[in-house]
């Protein structure tokens, strides 16, 4: 999806600090990157394309704006892939407990 309409659930992005504005205590690798912030909410604009600057209403009823980056942002975290080392542990400890 590249375009969103009013009231769609979307995610916006804002650069809070550019790389050159980072705080002095930040390690060198982090200093090369900007501090970026993402916020989700309901689109207020009638129509918007990815990359447009838009306004949203967040879950705490706050109105804020930023660059539209995702329409219908989903949680992609899961239960991972089988980890053989963990499967082994289960077999071993059950045997130990029952002996």
């Amino acid at each position: 999806m590249k375009s969103a309409t009013k009231n769609n659930w979307v995610e916006i992005e804002n650069v809070i600090l550019t790389a050159s504005e980072r705080a002095p205590q930040v390690p060198n690798d982090t200093k090369k990157t900007p501090l970026v912030m993402w916020t989700k909410g309901f689109l207020i604009d009638e129509h918007a394309e990815i990359g447009d600057i838009v306004s949203i209403k967040t879950l705490s009823d706050r109105i804020t704006s930023g660059k539209l980056v995702t329409i219908s942002p989903k949680f992609g975290h899961d239960f991972g892939e089988p980890v053989h080392e963990l499967l082994e542990i289960g077999m071993e400890v059950k045997k130990e407990v029952n002996n």
Binding site: T39, R62, G80, P82, L86, I89, K94
Partner: protein, 468 residues
């Protein structure tokens, strides 16, 4: 229109914070550097009875305490004759929102409501976010949680992403940031914009809320075994968990119970590094917070941190990431309860310690946390593998944070490392010397420092001389 630049906001920091926590810390300060910690805890927060009532109202506290018998039988197999203490686990996952953090949030959010705030804000990537969100919705307050979650490629720790989901499940707004300490700037800006209460983890409310946990453990142990536990292990990061628990134990009368801190060893990884951020499998409860917060508690968003572990910690141990994943699997496979890895740091430490304690002794693991997608050994190890971490079986002493995770072959290989507590106390004094001009310290100041590191004044005076 107010200047919202980084510099301008940071310059307004003190005023913003004062309004948003509503505590005048200066009234507890005396001497040159001292402050009256006990007076602050007593005057600012609530009594044990009040806190229990507040927490009961919002589904917090009175969590089960049970013996992990199958694990205890295994411990005996790996202990010398006469050794092998029994472990009891306080199942804090039973609190609303799934962790002991609900205790801290319950008091903070109640206080915010009493003071007429319309909403609460908390900066946290941990379980505290969900706890504040859960408490806020019960008390009818709005809630914003600010998380440090992504590296510069927008790759996030699955554990933190799950916590964002949980916050949203309770109706909170979640703001997500890339790695860096400037998160604080974003929080200050939001506080100023909204006028919400700063539900900081380090106010007296945030710490006192955990006192009910230590108190319950003492009372429940008397009920179950007729005696106080010999030791309680608390995961140590920012210090609130251990401080609150210890204070609660003392309040209940369990003064001889040893309070042991435990952290996951993440030595060598920089906490604010973009490259290191996703090379660790624990986002809290680790030495990257544990050591700095022990050796200088006042590094937080409030002028005086109410979490001061050196006052209470009898021993501080570290365990490896591999140890914790192993015991999380063990807990599921032989005890039939699935709990999140981060909450099992103290279980790993307790298993190591129980093997060295006597069989008639009792050691309490004072927390568990909820588990779910992302917040579980399988996704966390899958994520580690994808970030180039080698996962193997063998001696966990071979764990190298950021490079390998070695899962032990059996609990015989789970051994905690003792941190040198005296050295940590010395570092605290050194940090003190770095920040304050030591000339002209009065007797009051010396007494305060001695209490804060739990050492005799004579030793503190010698140490101060060394660093002056």
């Amino acid at each position: 229109m107010k200047d919202l630049s980084y510099k301008a906001i940071m310059e307004r920091k003190n005023d913003i914070m004062k309004q948003s926590v509503g505590i005048d810390y200066s009234i507890f300060e005396y001497g040159k550097v001292a402050f009256n910690y006990e007076k602050m805890m007593k005057q600012v927060s609530y009594s044990m009875d009040e806190m229990q009532t507040i927490q009961r109202e919002t589904k917090v506290g009175n969590t089960p305490l049970f013996e992990v018998k199958n694990i205890n039988n295994l411990i005996r197999k790996y202990s010398a004759k006469g050794k092998g203490a029994r472990i009891f686990v306080k199942d804090e996952a039973a609190n609303a929102s799934g962790s002991f953090k609900a205790r801290r949030a319950a008091i903070s959010v109640y206080h915010a409501k009493q003071k007429g705030f319309k909403g609460v804000i908390a900066a946290t990537s941990g379980n505290y976010g969900a706890a504040v969100a859960s408490q806020a919705t019960q008390r009818g307050l709005k809630c914003i949680i600010v998380q440090e979650v992504y590296d510069s490629n927008k790759k996030g720790q699955p554990e933190i992403i799950e916590k964002a989901r949980k916050c949203e499940a309770f109706g909170a707004e979640v703001i997500q940031l890339t790695v860096g300490p400037e998160l604080f700037y974003t929080v200050l800006r939001l506080i100023e914009e909204t006028g919400y209460f700063n539900a900081s983890l380090y106010t007296p409310f945030g710490i006192a809320g955990v006192e009910t946990l230590g108190y319950e453990i003492a009372k429940q142990m008397i009920g179950l075994e007729g005696k106080y536990p010999d030791a309680v292990v608390a995961t140590h990061a920012g210090g609130g968990n251990l401080t609150g628990t210890a204070r609660g134990l003392i309040h209940a009368g369990a003064k001889n119970c040893k309070v042991i801190g435990a952290s996951v060893d993440l030595s060598g990884l920089h906490m604010a590094s973009d490259n290191d951020f996703n090379r660790k499998s624990f986002t809290t409860g680790h030495t990257g917070f544990g050591i700095p917060f022990a050796t200088w508690p006042d590094r937080t968003d409030v002028p005086r941190n109410a979490a001061r572990v050196l006052r209470y910690m009898d021993k501080y141990v570290t365990v490896t990431q591999g140890d914790v994943f192993y015991v999380t699997e063990l807990l599921a496979q032989v005890e039939g309860i699935e709990r999140g890895p981060a909450g099992n740091v103290s279980l790993a430490a307790a298993i190591a310690l129980a093997k060295e304690m006597y069989e008639d002794q009792i050691i309490v693991v004072q927390e568990t946390e909820y588990t779910g997608a992302g917040k579980h050994p399988i996704p966390q190890l899958t994520f580690a593998k994808k970030n180039g971490i080698e996962i193997t079986r063998g001696n966990p002493q071979k764990n190298i944070p950021g490079k390998t995770i070695v899962l032990p072959m059996n609990i015989g290989q789970i051994n905690s490392e003792d941190m040198d507590l005296f050295k940590l106390k010395k570092t605290y004094i050194k940090n003190f010397a770095k920040r304050y001009d030591l000339n002209g310290l009065g007797e009051d100041d010396i007494t305060y420092i001695a209490e804060d590191v739990n050492l005799p004044e004579s030793i503190v005076i010698e140490m101060l001389k060394e660093y002056n």
